[in-house]
Amino acid sequence: MNTKYFFNTKKLTVGYNGKPLIKDIEINLKKGQILTLIGPNGSGKSTILKSITKHLKSICGTIYIDNKSIENMSNKDMAQKVAVVLTDRLKTELMTCKDVVATGRYPYTGMLGILSKEDNIQVRNAMELVNAWELRNRDFTEISDGQRQRILLARAICQNPEIIVLDEPTSFLDIHYELELLNILRTLAEERGITVIMSLHELDMAQKVSDLVMCVKGEYITHIGTPKEIFQKELISKLYDLSNGSYNPLFGSFEMERPKGVPMVFVIAGDGTGIAEYRTLQKKRIPFVTGILHKNDIDYQLAQDLASEVFFEKSFEPISEETFQSTLKRMQSCPIVINCLETYGELNIKNKALYEMALRQGKKNLESAAML
């Protein structure tokens, strides 16, 4: 008896036409948690979501909502417990936004579907929550994609569910609306205790908004855990088969491939000044060496992914002589130097010496990598 879990699955196997796609799924969600499914296209995220909403019959295993199996739930019960927001484009005819949202009240209205006063209040509340009340009389086909998603979310909200399931809700949205939507979801989870299960492409968003993340790839669920556990370099690289780039968990972003070859350029950087240069060099496919960076410097993060070799010092320590010498030695084989620093501090004063050495050695000194 899982008294503390509101939504859980036991040995759930899903697939189409009796052919299992993903086996033995075990999810345990508390009330008011947000679970995000991530994984490559076609891995089966939609299949899992459709099985949860009973759009698809699960092949074996059980799904429980509040300890009741959904198999035994009637259509009406399911309607009052689970609401969906789908990716398909709706083609409605002559329906206002309010009409669309109002359909969410169907599990609660009488035989002819006439809305009561209470229903109308619910509709209004839902629309106000998503900031779409002013759109209420507009035709649903005439609003923008972002507005449409909000309306569909309002529809799901006024269905008064305990769980909202969303399939790639941010696919057509630009950043403004994406943030807005995810904010609303977070609010719903926190303030109303609604459990959210969704799939997302945008890993950075998934990292920020989820309580739990599930990696969907292959026949079994590879990982399920908190964002901290999941968003690791190795894990994500394997999940998405990254051979042509890398994942940086700190930024929560992806970088393109490290330039190959013998590095001819040495970049002196720190304090974030190196980022632009690193990216330009990467774009031009020019391998480079960089230093001396402190481990807590942001340039260090990017350098790890893009530079052929990084010279670094421990955080908060002034650059040691040892480090300085080894860097110098390495710098000798690079005929080109780019210095991104304009000022120096106590801890990285040695970079100034490095630069002066480079000039004395007659290296070609470029203002920026753009000149290459």
């Binding site: 759009h55 309607a79 969906v84 709706l90 329906m95 359909t103 002819l112 579907g113």
Partner: protein, 340 residues
């Protein structure tokens, strides 16, 4: 918010009023106009006091009134059937015959005519009606059986079209082995007409169409849910499989009834729902279904009036007239939609 609701209600009331007025006017015109001139005074005597010249009495009670009833009942049935199918398939050119029903009817009528007629030299009109109805239900049955195996709803239209073609092919084979006279008559059957309706026919029509239409009205809620698509409808608690069956059954019954008694009548099912919805500016089934029915009745009353009086004693097929009016309406509405 309240003003907009009011605006909507006003629109609904106006549309309803206009339709009722047209309805009443067309009924009166249909009673008054015809090959034989009957004065208004005589009409009142005949209708309300049940007395008058025997010929005029018969003309009114046995020729004109049953026809009017048929236009009302069958016109409404067609419009309703069209509305259902347009909602279900989310396709503006879907109509009552998109599921291949008229081909099925024609095939059964051909079968009966060719086999029974060639042996017994005559066949009762009741059996032709039953044959047309059976043919319609048969094609509907095939569509249903196929629909169980099919995931997407638009496949049903393909099924309907295919079944239509198969039935036509079978009909053509039968015609090849029949003699010339039969062929001519089957061509005539393809053009719908309300001529010759009797009160017995009206009784049967009413007993099929009226309960079916009532059921459709009572299904306004799931139909409304369906307007967002099957995915959302299912989520809102609609039993999709059952709903599909009900929808095909209901629309087919309505259409089968029309085809059996009057033959195929085109464009009413496509044009009237569009017209009504664009006046109402809504497609909410609760409002749209009764008004579509009324609209269909009005449309058919008008078309039948023109069909029988324009070139009397030659009678045009009501299907021809409804096409002549229906096509420009549909084109106009399509264009307006695109501009928007």
């Amino acid at each position: 918010m309240k003003e907009n609701n009011d605006k909507n209600y006003i629109r609904y009331i106006i549309t309803l009023t206009v339709l009722i007025i047209l309805f009443a006017v067309l009924i009166l015109l249909n009673i008054k106009l015809g090959s034989v001139d009957v004065s208004v005074k005589d009409i009142i005597d005949i209708l309300f006091h049940r007395r008058g010249n025997e010929t005029n009495y018969n003309i009114l009670w046995k020729v004109r009134l049953p026809r009017i009833m048929a236009s009302i009942i069958l016109g409404g049935a067609l419009a309703l059937s069209g509305f259902l199918l347009q909602t279900f398939f989310n396709n503006p050119i879907a109509g009552p015959y998109v599921l291949g029903i008229s081909s099925g009817s024609k095939m059964m009528v051909a079968l009966v005519m060719i086999t029974i007629l060639s042996r017994y030299h005559s066949v009762s009109s009741a059996s032709l009606i039953a044959a047309a109805f059976a043919g319609a239900i048969l094609s509907m049955g095939f569509v249903l059986i196929i629909s169980r195996r099919v995931q997407s709803v638009s496949m049903l239209i393909v099924c309907g079209v295919m079944i239509g073609y198969i039935c036509s092919a079978i009909t053509d084979i039968m015609i090849t082995f029949a003699d010339d006279a039969n062929i001519v008559n089957l061509h005539n059957w393809s053009l719908g007409s309300f001529s010759g309706t009797s009160w017995r026919d009206v009784g049967v029509m009413a007993s099929v169409v009226l309960p079916t239409s009532l059921i459709v009205f009572l299904m306004s809620k799931p139909i409304g849910a369906y307007q967002l698509g099957e995915g959302y409808a299912k989520n809102m608690g609609v039993n999709i499989k059952l709903f599909r069956i009900m929808l095909v059954l209901l629309s087919s019954f309505l259409c089968a009834c029309v085809t059996a008694f009057a033959g195929p009548i085109s464009f009413v099912g496509i044009a009237v729902p569009h017209l009504v919805k664009s006046f109402l500016r809504t497609s909410k089934p609760l409002i749209a279904t009764p008004l579509c029915f009324l609209g269909g009745s009005v449309f058919c009353l008008g078309c039948d009036l023109i069909a029988r009086t324009l070139f009397a004693p030659v009678e045009l097929s009501v299907s021809t007239v409804s096409s002549i009016f229906g096509v420009p309406i549909v084109i106009y509405i399509m264009l307006r939609k695109r501009v928007q």
